[in-house]
Symmetry: C2
């Protein structure tokens, strides 16, 4: 016998239960997105390679899956490259397409390409797989799904408010209690300004981001190592050791940022979002101002969001923020927007761990008609067709196998009822119906059976 | 300004209406599949390259999109290959994965890999994109969707009966009238035997397949050119010129195949399916015995199916058949099965041409709340949240722009109602609601508005 076949590392087969549960999550997200007027788009799995390269940094470029040109790719390689041993020199000649690395760059490309067809502000959601040649590990895959909602074409802060509500609504529907962490890039820039680290904003946030893990002293130490003046970092200590509620944090910042224009602007934005969300109130989530939240700071220009599930240790299950120039890379500058992402795989793990999937995601058929021979099956098929017309899922066992085999099949597939129609039942216009779970068995006419399933 | 970005040839962006319409088709198919007890699986977009190569013939191998190894792929190329100018010699060294070419081979791989978890017979459906480096043309794409249902682990002819019913049910739900063409590989083998072309079965069917296009005389001519004895082809003429209904075709075959064992077996199978389907009756489709139908004969071993839409010239919108050894390629021989495929893109074109998409696939938001300033918006957002709680899709315009701009946005997005809440309305606890289509405008309380949308 041949070697048992396998799939590439970092990829997954999904069995029926997994597919149904993933669809359940996506259908909750879909209806949350649509509740706010987001509409779905889909983009091709691969893009022209120049659409993707240079958008994710050097490390990102390395992790993009490139597709080999079809046909004679070798003839595209110039003679001087042919003798070069550096694969990067080759790539652009032998690969002209690449698999989607995220949904954001294809979205930007879509907006620019279709700008004349779009109603602005343009609100879209997109739920598709993306691919990264990352080293696979627990919870990190080479093929995984992103579920993104973005709006471009307006810098109104009401969108920040709506995205917080959207997170609350979607996770609430899934039964997940969450903390939504909120920060603002301008607040971070303001803090950096106050401590004299404006030129070192990235170093500042990289170190700040580690507060939870290494503590305030080590953060300050790292900042100094990274060249931030120590008289600045000493100003930071009260901020690092602060553990108040949102109001206390805001009050502290008001004072702390009073000399920074950008900081005051950020504080104003933060305050608007916080106040409006409080006025509207959240159903299941808690909004937390978190000054250490940065999430790819280079990219975001205003609000920064991150969602963590309560009751389970799984890191972030969503995140996003405000950006000011998404489409500039494709020659359409100045389009402000904001977007959030839902991490399908992590959400799945949360729901599984907390036992929050609804029972009916298994979608097992309602009944199995036993095969008692062709003549009997011809009648069973008629009943089965009527039950399907009434909206039920019904199987007919294909072969007139032994009872035990047919029964085992029903049990293994999680089917609720077995239905037996032999000569006698057919003559009487009834069927023997057994509830597999309870063991109860009774005779039913077709109408009675439909009524039973309707219960 | 930079060059306008584009997507690779043969791929497509789908706009919201297209996504919703495609989802509509897939949801009809999904519920048809589930009505018969098929359960969904999904497999990775790419497979190990050796899983796919050698399964689709030489031409197929050429059309498979291969993924460049990440990292230093050049170091994998042996020195003697490095000087070779034949790209095929290189491919296996620099590419280790390939994009799914169809759903059948990944399904076979899945069955073998997961054999111990599966209830046999195993009924699965799968709706995922596949990729082929074919020359793009009208209706033929490099990325397209297949929707397949297969059952493996039983050779019962009841499955042929059920697949015909499934086609009828699914296309009926979509409002499409169809002809389901039915043939049987054993009948074709029997006819070939009778005319002395058993050794030339492929030549025989390739020529036979052209009957509609080139007529009986030319078909016979081609068969003779392909080495089929002319005393055989002369026997074929009455069959080629026959234009009766199913019963007449069956009667003719009974006589024609009386000396062929395989032919009689095929006829028996054909008769069983025909009789059982007739007894159960179809709702929207017509079942037609079509002796020229072959569809990749090498693959099928029994029934062969093909579906054509009536009232529109679009070729086949579905097809399938019985195979006896799907999983043999992965070392698990002797597993008989049958499967059918639905051509999503062609079905889409049919529904579009015949104007059969339901109106509500547009899924435009129910209402747009105008932005009259922050204070007013804070109240509008509360109403919007209540409407969303009641299940409606509601947008709030982000900026307090001019009325015309907000109104144009609503119109362009197909939104049904605009809702205006200024100072006076808020003081009175009402909103000015306008039906964009009819132009009607009235004051509503929140409860009245919910009631209006519920209509």
């Amino acid at each position: 016998m041949a070697v048992k076949p396998s799939i590439p590392k970092g990829t997954r087969d999904f069995n029926p239960q997994e597919v149904n549960r993933r669809h359940y999550i996506m259908s909750v997200l879909r209806s949350a997105f649509e509740g706010y007027g987001f509409q779905p788009i889909e983009t091709p799995s691969f893009e022209n390679i120049e659409t993707l390269t240079g958008k994710y940094g050097e490390e990102g470029d390395r992790l993009i899956f490139k597709i080999l040109r079809s046909g004679d790719f070798l003839s595209k390689v110039p003679a001087d490259v042919r003798s070069n041993d550096n694969p990067n020199a080759w790539t652009s000649f032998i690969a002209d397409k690449a698999l989607r690395y995220d949904l954001t760059v294809p979205f930007a490309r879509y907006v620019v390409q279709h700008r004349n067809e779009l109603a602005m502000p343009f609100k879209r959601y997109q739920m598709q797989p993306v691919w990264r040649a990352d080293r696979p590990q627990k919870g990190r895959f080479r093929e995984f799904w992103q579920c993104d909602a973005d709006v471009v074409g307006s810098d109104s802060l009401w969108q920040e408010v709506e995205f917080v509500q959207l997170y609350d609504r979607a996770f609430g529907k899934l039964g997940l209690k969450t903390e939504i962490h909120l920060n603002n890039r301008k607040v971070l820039a303001g803090i950096a300004e106050v401590i004299g680290a404006s030129e070192k904003l990235t170093d500042f946030t990289v170190a700040l981001d580690k507060l939870d893990k290494i503590g305030a002293d080590k953060v300050v130490e790292e900042m100094v190592e990274r060249g931030i003046p120590s008289d600045g970092t000493s100003k930071l200590l009260p901020l690092l050791s602060m553990s108040g509620n949102n109001e206390e944090v805001m009050n502290f910042l008001e004072d702390f940022l009073s000399d920074s224009e950008v900081g005051k602007k950020g504080l104003e934005e933060l305050g608007f979002v916080l106040n409006q969300v409080n006025a509207l109130s959240l159903s299941s989530a808690e909004l937390v101002v978190n000054l250490t939240l940065a999430r790819g700071l280079d990219y975001y220009t205003g609000a920064i969001l991150e969602v963590k599930a309560k009751d389970v240790e799984l890191g972030s299950i969503g995140g996003g923020g405000r950006y000011d120039d998404l489409t500039g890379i494709f020659g359409m500058p100045g389009l402000s927007g904001m977007g959030v992402s839902f991490g399908l795989d992590r959400i799945y793990l949360c729901l599984e761990e907390l036992n929050l999937f609804p029972e009916d995601t298994s979608k097992s058929p309602d009944a199995l008609f036993f095969n008692m021979g062709d003549a009997e099956m011809a009648v069973a098929q008629k009943w089965a067709a009527e039950l399907r017309n009434a909206g039920f899922s019904v199987e007919c066992y294909p072969d007139s196998a032994k009872f035990k085999k047919q029964f085992d099949y029903a049990e293994k597939k999680g089917i609720k009822y077995t239905v037996i129609m032999g000569d006698r039942e057919i003559a009487d216009g009834v069927a023997q119906v057994k509830n597999i779970e309870s063991g109860e068995q009774e005779m039913y006419t077709l109408d009675q059976l439909i009524a039973l399933f309707r219960e």
